[in-house]
């Protein structure tokens, strides 16, 4: 039986400091795979064998997991490392092994430029793209870019590279449109932020961009609330968009906004099927109360992309058998999931479309703004377009520099 199974390693962090975000993702990821196995009997009859490995969000344990799982079953073909640190550690390894890395929003942003790292995919967005869309949204709220001049925008960030990552985009826009950017670093883990928010309060900012992670998010929201900073003027970045950012903050979080690369809630056809084939069958990975949370939805769509890529590989190379690493890589390199396909998957409005080309390993990077009303996330905007010209230039510059450092010859895409 094993030979006809498609092996899927799943690096998860159900423990450790960031477990609250990790659990939802891992559950969604696993439940989607179960759904495919139960409802369809796998991909064209090829069942997927999922194996989890706990990384606790630590780089060394991530590497150990990668090494342990990569040759299990009939061989791993794709891995989602779920952490920027682990991604960096497994990039050289995965290149050597020919395994695809699917990094959703985290990892090397410049991997979005497909000519350098041919096996790493930033589907569906990056911090950079999402920040351009966020600023667009802000400008729109202010009534157009012309009104942005003289505005105060605070970027309150996890004092680490993660939090600093969108600064390039922010500074670029600040210069171009004449708003004042205030960079406020918050030292991780961020259990006490009073003095930062006192400063922010003094600035009386028009908007606050929050790039927190883990416990920093709820604390930031709570502290902001206690200082009277309007929550609907705070927009969380894609990893500050978490249910665990708002739930512990309680009523303080009402009105908090965040950008995400997927739709909110559980109101999609796929959830009915999950209920039917997974939950009611008692096959759910977790307690079942995380359905519709942001982390869970991310797990679902990450698994969705992976399985769609396999499906497309089978279509190309022969259905009804597990695909190889080369075949999987090929499939990712031209992965296309259009609106119709998304709808067929039952994820219309939940999953963004994907269109990978040789050069573009991100897609169009679209995101949407959601708002927490105290109970649920509500969609505020439709998919927002991103500033492709700006970010693609940035990807290219950064990737080419990396290629030079590493002695990689960028492949030709013509």
């Amino acid at each position: 039986a094993q030979a006809s199974e498609q092996y899927l390693p799943s690096l998860v962090y159900r423990t450790g400091p960031f477990a609250p975000s990790g659990i939802g993702f891992a559950d969604g990821f696993a439940d989607y795979v179960t759904l495919i196995n139960e409802r369809d009997g796998g991909i064209n009859g090829v069942r997927i064998r999922l194996e989890e490995c706990e990384t606790a969000y630590a780089n060394d344990r991530g590497v150990e997991c990668y090494e342990r799982l990569k040759d299990r079953g009939n061989g791993a073909t794709v891995v989602a490392p779920l952490s920027t640190g682990i991604t960096y550690a497994v990039i050289p390894r995965s290149r050597r092994d020919g395994i695809v890395l699917s990094t959703m929003g985290y990892g090397r942003a410049d991997a979005a430029y497909g000519r350098v790292l041919d096996n790493v995919f930033m589907v569906p967005t990056t911090y950079w793209s999402s920040m351009t869309a966020t600023l667009d949204y802000i400008a729109e709220q202010e009534g157009g870019w012309e009104n942005m001049r003289g505005k105060d925008i605070v970027h309150a960030f996890h004092d680490s590279a993660y939090g600093r990552e969108p600064l390039g985009v922010l500074r670029h826009y600040a210069e171009e449109y004449g708003f004042t950017l205030h960079e406020m670093a918050i030292s991780p883990p961020g259990v006490e932020q009073r003095s930062v928010w006192q400063q922010i309060r003094r600035i009386q900012p028009d908007w606050v961009s929050l790039y927190g992670w883990g416990v920093m998010n709820p604390t930031a929201i709570r502290t902001a609330a206690s200082m009277g900073i309007p929550r609907d003027r705070i927009i969380g970045g894609i990893y500050a968009a978490q249910d665990d950012a708002v739930l512990p903050a309680g009523s303080a979080a009402e009105g908090y906004k965040a950008v995400t690369f997927h739709g909110p809630g559980a109101d999609y056809p796929i959830y009915d099927e999950l209920q039917q084939y997974v939950y009611d069958a008692g096959l759910a990975a977790g307690d079942g109360d995380l359905m519709g949370t942001i982390a869970y939805n991310r797990g679902l769509i990450n698994a969705g992309y992976i399985i769609e890529a396999w499906r497309q590989a089978q279509a190309e190379f022969g259905e009804g058998r597990p695909v190889t690493r080369e075949e999987t890589l090929w499939a990712w390199q031209q992965l296309k999931i259009d609106e119709d396909r998304v709808a067929e998957l039952g994820m219309d409005g939940l999953m963004p479309t994907v269109d990978i080309t040789c050069e573009n390993h991100e897609g169009d990077g679209r995101v949407m703004v959601q708002q927490w009303d105290g109970e649920n996330w509500n969609q505020l905007t439709d998919w927002l377009d991103t500033n492709r010209e700006l970010v693609e230039g940035m990807y290219r510059d950064s990737a080419m520099r990396y290629a030079q450092e590493e002695g990689i010859t960028p492949r030709s895409c013509d």
């Binding site: 423990t15 477990a19 659990i23 004092d159 259990v191 003095s195 003094r202 739930l247 512990p248």
Partner: protein
């Protein structure tokens, strides 16, 4: 100027919250000469039980809190019975290491029961803004400060007005000699760990209320440690005073120094304050003098 005071007062308030965690360390250090790394885990453990019982089992807080306190006493007993008792008269570093073992064991245990998801813990402490003149205060802080004040007074009575204080210091000085005069180490330790457990419950309520209950709560310990150092490892009131100093120093530095050197500096700044101070006074502000004789 107004802003300065606001930051200052905010810092003092955070300092009180740190001191609350530091208190737990102080108690156990007083009673065994050991730096109890597991204190942070005890805070998490208590918070997880309170939040878990309320969230998963629907136990109301007025019941969940006393149950948790009983649980902490049970925990103290287990720790004494299975760990401390076997390490009598060992070097402090060995006992310190054992407390790290306890740290993992209790976190693992709590997670086996409650998992590592984040939970909310809201026992109903008031949480509104409060303006005094132009200055902004939080009710939560004021309530917390009051709770801590009461706790400290009680602890000081426990440690100073009763015979217990002397006995604790004797035990910390020399386990074996304490045994030789008939002090039951097991009783002393169970009592002290239980009291530290109760402090952990209070810290759990306060910190859990502001952070939510999640594994990262143990990191609060790293904010409490400089407070502990500065106050002196053995001093209850030292913890409070040092908490105020560190809290204020850290907040002011964050606001006035942070932007200059680029970044959130409060993680290490408190340590630097404590360290600089200790080069001058190696036992902290109110710590027991280190005896150097030959």
């Amino acid at each position: 100027m107004m802003f300065f005071f606001e930051v200052l007062i905010g810092g003092l308030m955070s300092g009180i919250m740190y001191a609350l965690v530091a208190l737990g360390f102080v108690l156990i250090f007083k009673a065994s000469g050991v730096f109890n790394f597991a204190q942070a885990a005890m805070v998490l453990f208590a918070a997880m039980f309170m939040a878990g019982m309320y969230g998963d089992w629907g136990v109301p807080y007025w019941l969940a809190i006393p149950i948790t306190i009983l649980l902490m006493i049970g925990l103290a007993w287990v720790i004494e019975r299975f760990v401390l008792r076997h390490l009598v008269n060992q070097e402090p570093i060995i006992m310190f290491m054992a407390t790290i073992g306890i740290f993992f064991a209790i976190i693992g245990f709590a997670e086996i029961i409650w998992g590592s998801r984040s939970r909310t813990l809201d026992v109903g402490l008031p949480d509104d803004m409060l303006f005094i003149g132009d200055m902004l205060f939080q009710q939560y802080d004021i309530v917390t400060a009051l709770m801590v004040a009461v706790l400290v007074v009680l602890l000081m009575i426990f440690a100073q007005k009763t015979r217990m204080g002397r006995v604790l210091r004797a035990v910390a000085d020399d386990h074996q000699a304490a045994q030789s005069v008939g002090i039951k180490l097991s009783t002393v330790w169970v009592v002290v760990w239980s009291v530290a457990g109760v402090v952990a419950v209070v810290a759990g309520i306060v910190w859990g209320g502001s952070l939510g209950v999640q594994p990262v709560m143990v990191d609060v310990a790293f904010k409490a440690l400089p407070v502990l150092l500065l106050g002196g490892l053995t001093s209850i009131h030292g913890a409070i005073i040092a908490g105020l100093i560190i809290g204020a120093g850290e907040a002011l530095a964050e606001v006035y120094l942070g932007p200059i050197i680029g970044g959130g500096i409060d993680n290490w700044f408190a340590y630097i304050i404590a360290m600089a101070f200790m080069v001058w006074r190696p036992e902290g502000l109110f710590g027991e003098k280190i005896i150097e004789r030959i």
